[in-house]
Every structure is written in structure tokens, then in C-alpha cells.
């Protein structure tokens, strides 16, 4: 299939789709017994109940709650003081678990851990730092995936990661072990504090993938017996760092 016919085919589909779309919407309006609504209606119940929007824990409590929730879900939480401690922790863990391949996001905040130089026992790779590589395949065979969390939420015990050219979705998904570095100032109380930011930013600012991760991959599909690591990482470390900046 050449790209040209692909293009034509998609155009033809879109034409059909737009016709159908009008029928669809007209049909809905007719069934609801009124004319089409073409401007945004007032939405009086948008978002969480009001009392909830004011709810906020102080930092230490956010950390305690995040830790309790993440551990209850089967994840590991380690609190570290600074960047050096993070670097040391990952090195020790990689050696302890005999990790052969480590894949990290291509971020300044992670390259400054200098794992490439200090971790000679393993191959350390940086996501999408060269073209012509099947990065999905690299992620699939990596033992460790290392990411910076964009945010974390204490109430649900979740790490939030957003995709970008230098930040692969596969890095937090395909390796056996996931290590997420979370500077504590990125930790909020509620999900809503993060979600409303996506509304405020608007469609054009959103990345292709936004992922909330609340522990290791799990399933209870076989006789209600909890199984960890069914498809995603079975071992997840959340590293809470008090002062990550230099």
C-alpha cells in the first residue's frame, strides 16, 4: 500500500464519517425532542463536589499517605535525601538484581545521575537518543526502566507520567522493574489537582499519552488469586526525593 492510496483512503473515510456524524447528531437531538445544541451548554456540576476541591494535606502527610497507598498496592517506596542518594540506590539495586540492560528517559534530570559511567555492570540506554533504533524492542528487553514522575498524587498513591519524544510510554511499561523518581514537591493530594491542569492547558498542549501508575501490574483473574506483573512491571520503586535540584 503506497502512502498516496493510504491518504486517499483516509480522506474517503473521513468524508463518509462527516456525513454520518451529522445524521448521528440530528438523530440524537430528535430523540431528545429538541433542536441541535451547537454551543457549549452550561455545566453546573463540573468536577468534584465543592468541599472536595478544598481538601489538601500538608507535605509530610502527603508523603505518608502516598507511601501507605503505594505499598498497599504492592509497590515499594523509598525516601531519599538527594540526587546522589538516588544514583546510589539505583546502582545498588541494579547490581543486586543483576540487571543487564537499563533504559532511562532522555532527561537532564536523569542523565545527571551519571549511571552510564558509574554502572559498568549494565548497559544503560537513553530513550530515543538516536533514530533508526526500534526503541519499543529495546524497552521490551530492558530489565530496568527509569522515569521522572511529572506529578504524584497522595490520595490514590499514583505516579503520573506524560509522553514526549524524549519520554517513551514504553519505558514505564515494558521493562521488568520500574523505578520512578519523584521530587517531593511534585506530590499533590488529590487527582483533581492534576486533572484540572489538563483542562487549563487545553487540547493542543496535551501529549499523546498521560499515564497514572498506582503500583505493579496485577490481576486476580485466576481464582481470585492475586498475581503481580501480568503484563507491565511486576516490581515498582517510587523514590521520593526531598531535594532533587542541585
Amino acid at each position: 500500500m503506497t502512502s498516496e492510496t493510504d491518504h486517499n483512503w483516509l480522506n474517503r473515510l473521513e468524508e463518509q464519517s462527516r456525513l454520518k456524524q451529522e445524521q448521528f447528531m440530528d438523530g440524537i437531538a430528535a430523540k431528545l425532542g429538541r433542536d441541535r445544541i451547537r454551543t457549549a451548554p452550561e455545566h453546573p456540576f463540573r468536577g468534584a463536589p465543592d468541599f472536595w476541591k478544598e481538601f489538601e494535606w500538608p507535605l509530610e502527610q502527603r508523603i505518608t499517605q502516598f507511601t501507605a497507598n503505594f505499598e498497599a498496592a504492592g509497590g515499594h517506596v523509598v525516601r531519599l535525601s538527594n540526587r546522589e542518594a538516588v544514583s546510589q540506590f539505583i546502582r545498588d539495586k541494579a547490581v543486586e538484581m543483576s540487571a543487564a540492560t537499563i533504559l532511562r528517559q532522555q532527561e537532564e534530570a536523569l542523565s545527571c545521575l551519571r549511571l552510564e559511567e558509574s554502572l559498568l555492570e549494565a548497559q544503560v540506554l537513553s530513550w530515543n537518543d538516536e533514530a533508526d533504533t526500534d526503541w519499543r524492542a529495546v524497552a521490551a528487553r530492558a530489565d530496568f526502566g527509569i522515569v521522572m514522575a511529572d506529578y504524584a498524587t497522595a490520595y490514590t498513591g499514583s505516579i503520573v507520567v506524560k509522553s514526549a519524544p524524549n519520554k517513551g510510554r514504553s519505558v514505564s511499561l515494558l521493562p521488568t522493574v520500574l523505578v520512578a523518581v519523584i521530587p517531593v514537591d511534585r506530590m499533590v493530594t488529590r487527582l483533581g489537582e492534576i486533572l484540572v491542569q489538563f483542562d487549563q492547558a487545553g487540547r493542543e498542549q496535551l501529549p499523546a499519552g498521560i499515564h497514572f501508575i498506582s503500583g505493579p501490574s496485577r490481576s486476580a483473574d485466576i481464582e481470585n488469586d492475586l498475581t503481580i506483573g501480568v503484563h507491565g512491571p511486576g516490581i515498582v520503586y517510587a523514590l521520593l526525593v526531598d531535594s532533587y535540584e542541585n
Partner: protein
């Protein structure tokens, strides 16, 4: 589905089969109990549960009442994100679009994450018919696909299989004998499906919520297979019921609070993913091409129907299944449709356009209202079941014998003198059949009842005999009716009145 299951035409027959299967009955009971308790604890711990339910209901009501605007907005924004949006009125159209994409991409295999819509479409069979391998990747769905069966629970699809049966199915796939050990079995599936993810040409998902303002779709899951399916293959297809819409990310907080707690008792599923279009130009993963197929398939029939419009509020959590005493006994397959439990009992006939005709599914309920209590968006399922039964009778499809019996009942009950004579006759007549205060004989008018239950004997002093003192007691203790109940009764009455006047529109909006 096995051949004996296919032969069973009615809910009663299928329930009979289920009741004869001890493992199924116990497994369903255990699982629903675990999920129900999990939900109870999670909702209590969260607190103000009814305030959240009400908020969830309001958001869903608002969205459905303005569905033409929000759905249109979603389609436009999703296109702006670079996704290709399609509309399908029927299951056949949705299948045709899916097959067209598959053929155009010369795809050999499709990896799928759990989607109830795809079950509605019987898409796997259609893909198979054009020589494309469709692989279910949710652990439970994978198991029942190997067994060639359908899901029996919306959250735990393979609830009816034990690990020995599962080990047998997976061993056949592995070509070696696997022990019935959960960790080993899950490990095999991880390895096996990893290959499938990496080889597949197309990834296919359902959609929990679609955010109108940004054209994003949101998936909740625990295993990570939905993330795999939306990250690894080059082409991605999302199947989405037309009512899955919510206006904004802010509204997602309410759904994310209600859905996981109601489904499994979790504060949030392990993964919640918001996907906005295909991969960006410079991204190194995510699909190059993303298709979203928006499906009606009977959904729009509920719009403007004051008795059933709220069905579209459903967020597919399964809490009503776990709460339902009937589901707990007969399991999901007895319902005979894609959706089981109380929601299935209403949704199946509603989506099939034949509210009045659908066999006896509306009778598979004790109308206890546990489903309504459990529902995170307060869908009055038990009221809907009553409406279904009423429509069936109105359409002249009631049970003739039952109708006759009811007429007789009315004749006796409508006249105090006749009632007294009948009871007197009964007290005298029962002496022949009472054994230890119970009547177990299955003769005459008691045949139907006593096939499943035991009739207590008529007491020496009946409630009616005691009425004068009881009435006295009530008058001295009762206050005014609970205002919430009074409002509800009034609302139903209004809706019924309204229905008579035709051209329906949900007054509560």
C-alpha cells in the same frame, strides 16, 4: 459456549444448568462477595459516598441530555488530535469499518484489551472469517478465548473457571503440561502475549470515558495490557459506545473516584491512561494511526425514553452484579446476553429494540433494589425491571396462567367476605398437607411455588386477625414519610404520567 448452553433457550433453563454446577456457584459467590466487600470498605473509607454518587449521576445526566453537543465536540477534538473518527449505527457497520481498516493495513493479527462493545459486535469471529488472528490480552479474557466461551462477569470474565481447567487450556497452548499454579500460569501468559504484542499489526481497545473538550479517551485497567495495545502496534482502533462521553478532565476525577471503588474496591486501578490521538511526529512509540469507532447499536433508542434514558449513565463497573442475589446464584451466562446481572437484564432487551419481547430475563430479579443501592451513578435498575415487565404484559406477552391466577387473586382479595371464606377453607384444607408447619407438596395451585420453595402453613391467628392491635401500634409510633422516599415516589408517578403524554424528555434535567 458449550452445546448444552446453546440449547438452553430461557433464563430459567440456563439458570438450572448454572445451579447444577457447584464450582460455578461457589466461585461466583466468593468473587462477588469479595468485590462487594471491597467496594463497601472503599466507599466507606472515602466517605460522603452518596454525595459522590449524586455528583456522578448529575454529570452523566447532564452529558446525556446534551449528548449531541458533547459527542460532536469529542469527534472534532479527536480529529484535531490526529485521530480518525468513524460512526456506526449498527454492530454490522462497526464490524465492516473494523474489517476495512484491518484489510487496508494488510494486518495479520490484532491484539485486544478488554472491551464489552467488542463482545456486542462478535468482532473476533468476523476477524477470524477474513483470516486475521484476534488475541484477547486481558488474562481472564485470554483464558475464556482459549475455551471458546463468553465472559460471565464484566470485571472478572473467567470467574467460572478453576485453575485446573485454566492449566489445561494453557498447557494445550504451551505444548507442554503446566502445573495448576497461578504464578506459573500467569508467567506463561506474560511470555506468550509479549510476543503477540510485539508482532501485532493492530491494537484494539474499548473506552471507559471519552473527554469531549480535548478529544481524549481514558482507559482504566490493572494488568497493563490496554497500555500495551495502545503503545506497541502501529495502528490502533478504539471501539467506543456513543454514550461514553464526559465533558472534561475535571469530571474524570468524579468517575475515577466512583469506578475503581465500585468495581474492585481500589482507590484507583493500577493504570489510568488518557490517550489524545496517535503518537506525535517525533515520539518513538505509540500508534502511527489511530481510529475511533463510535457505536450506537441500540443505545440511542433509550434517548428520550423517561423510563430507560438513565441506562446510558452506566459506567460499567459491575457493582450491581456483585450486589444482586440472583446473579450470585446463577452467574453471568444464565442471562444469555453480552451484559449480565441487573444491568444486563435491562440493557440487553433495551439494546435489542425489543423491550417487550425479550424472553424472561426481566424476571431474573427479586426487585430487592440492591442494584440501585450499589450503583455509583444511581440508575434505578429495579424500577426499570418493573417497567420492562409491565411493557411485556402491555404487549400481550404475559404468562396466560399467571394472568388467570392474578384475576382469581384479585377476585378473592378484592372482597373481604370472599377472602375470609377462602382462608377458612384453606385452614381446614391444609390439614391434609402440612408436615411440621410446612407445606412441601407440589399439587394444584402450589405446584409452581413449591418447585423452588416451601409454603408455610396458615397460622392459627393471621396478620389480618391481629390487624386492630397492629394498627393501634403504628398510629402511635409512625411519623411522616421519609422525604427522600416521598420525592422518589412522586418522581416515578410524574414520569409515568409523562410517558402517557408521549414525546418524552427527562424532566429531571
Amino acid at each position: 459456549m458449550s452445546s448444552s448452553e446453546l440449547k438452553a433457550k430461557t433464563v430459567k433453563e440456563r439458570a438450572g444448568q448454572a445451579l447444577n454446577n457447584d464450582f460455578l456457584r461457589n466461585a461466583v459467590k466468593f468473587t462477588t462477595e469479595r468485590l462487594r466487600l471491597g467496594k463497601k470498605l472503599a466507599s466507606e473509607e472515602h466517605g460522603n459516598w452518596d454525595v459522590w454518587r449524586e455528583r456522578g449521576r448529575q454529570i452523566r445526566l447532564h452529558t446525556i441530555a446534551h449528548l449531541d453537543y458533547y459527542l460532536n465536540e469529542f469527534a472534532e477534538q479527536a480529529r484535531a488530535n490526529g485521530a480518525h473518527v468513524h460512526f456506526a449505527e449498527t454492530a454490522e457497520e462497526a464490524v465492516a469499518i473494523s474489517l476495512q481498516i484491518t484489510e487496508h493495513k494488510s494486518a495479520k493479527s490484532v491484539v485486544k484489551s478488554k472491551s464489552m462493545v467488542s463482545e456486542e459486535l462478535h468482532l473476533n469471529k468476523a476477524l477470524d472469517s477474513i483470516g486475521v488472528e484476534a488475541v484477547e490480552t486481558d488474562l481472564g479474557e485470554y483464558i475464556i478465548q482459549l475455551a471458546d466461551e463468553t465472559p460471565s462477569h464484566i470485571i472478572i470474565p473467567a470467574i467460572h473457571k478453576n485453575r485446573y481447567q485454566i492449566a489445561e487450556l494453557l498447557s494445550a497452548e504451551a505444548g507442554e503440561t503446566l502445573p495448576p499454579d497461578t504464578t506459573i500460569l500467569a508467567g506463561f501468559v506474560r511470555m506468550k502475549l509479549r510476543e503477540k504484542f510485539l508482532e501485532a499489526d493492530i491494537g484494539m481497545t474499548g473506552c471507559n470515558f471519552a473527554i469531549a473538550e480535548t478529544g481524549s479517551m481514558v482507559l482504566f485497567e490493572n494488568e497493563g495490557n490496554a497500555r500495551m495495545v495502545t503503545t506497541v502496534p502501529k495502528t490502533q482502533i478504539t471501539l467506543m459506545g456513543m454514550e461514553r462521553i464526559i465533558p472534561s478532565w475535571a469530571d474524570l476525577e468524579v468517575m475515577a473516584t466512583l469506578l475503581p471503588r465500585s468495581a474492585t474496591g481500589q482507590k484507583l486501578t493500577v493504570y489510568m491512561s488518557g490517550i489524545s490521538g496517535p503518537k506525535r511526529e517525533a515520539d518513538a512509540d505509540g500508534p502511527d494511526e489511530m481510529h475511533i469507532i463510535i457505536i450506537d447499536n441500540g443505545r440511542s433508542l433509550q434517548l428520550g425514553d423517561p423510563e430507560f434514558q438513565e441506562l446510558l449513565n452506566c459506567i460499567r463497573c459491575g457493582a450491581c452484579l456483585n450486589a444482586c442475589p440472583v446473579y450470585r446464584h446463577i452467574g453471568g451466562h444464565a442471562y444469555g446476553g453480552t451484559y449480565s446481572g441487573p444491568i444486563g437484564a435491562v440493557l440487553t432487551p433495551a439494546l435489542n429494540k425489543n423491550v417487550a419481547e425479550w424472553d424472561d430475563i426481566a424476571n431474573a430479579s427479586s426487585l430487592c433494589g440492591a442494584c440501585y443501592e450499589a450503583c455509583p451513578v444511581k440508575i434505578p435498575l429495579h424500577d426499570m425491571l418493573v417497567s420492562l415487565r409491565r411493557r411485556k404484559i402491555e404487549a400481550g406477552r404475559g404468562d396466560k396462567l399467571e394472568a388467570m391466577g392474578m384475576k382469581g387473586f384479585a377476585a378473592v382479595m378484592g372482597n373481604a367476605k370472599r377472602y375470609r371464606s377462602a382462608i377458612k377453607l384453606g385452614k381446614w384444607g391444609q390439614k391434609l398437607v402440612v408436615r411440621g408447619g410446612e407445606i412441601r407438596t407440589r399439587i394444584g395451585p402450589l405446584k409452581g411455588w413449591n418447585s423452588y420453595r416451601v409454603t408455610p402453613s396458615l397460622p392459627k391467628q393471621s396478620f389480618r386477625d391481629r390487624w386492630p392491635e397492629v394498627a393501634q401500634e403504628i398510629h402511635s409510633t409512625s411519623g411522616p414519610m421519609n422525604p427522600e422516599i416521598a420525592a422518589r415516589l412522586k418522581e416515578r408517578l410524574l414520569a409515568a404520567e409523562f410517558r402517557k403524554g408521549e414525546k418524552a424528555y427527562d424532566k429531571r434535567n
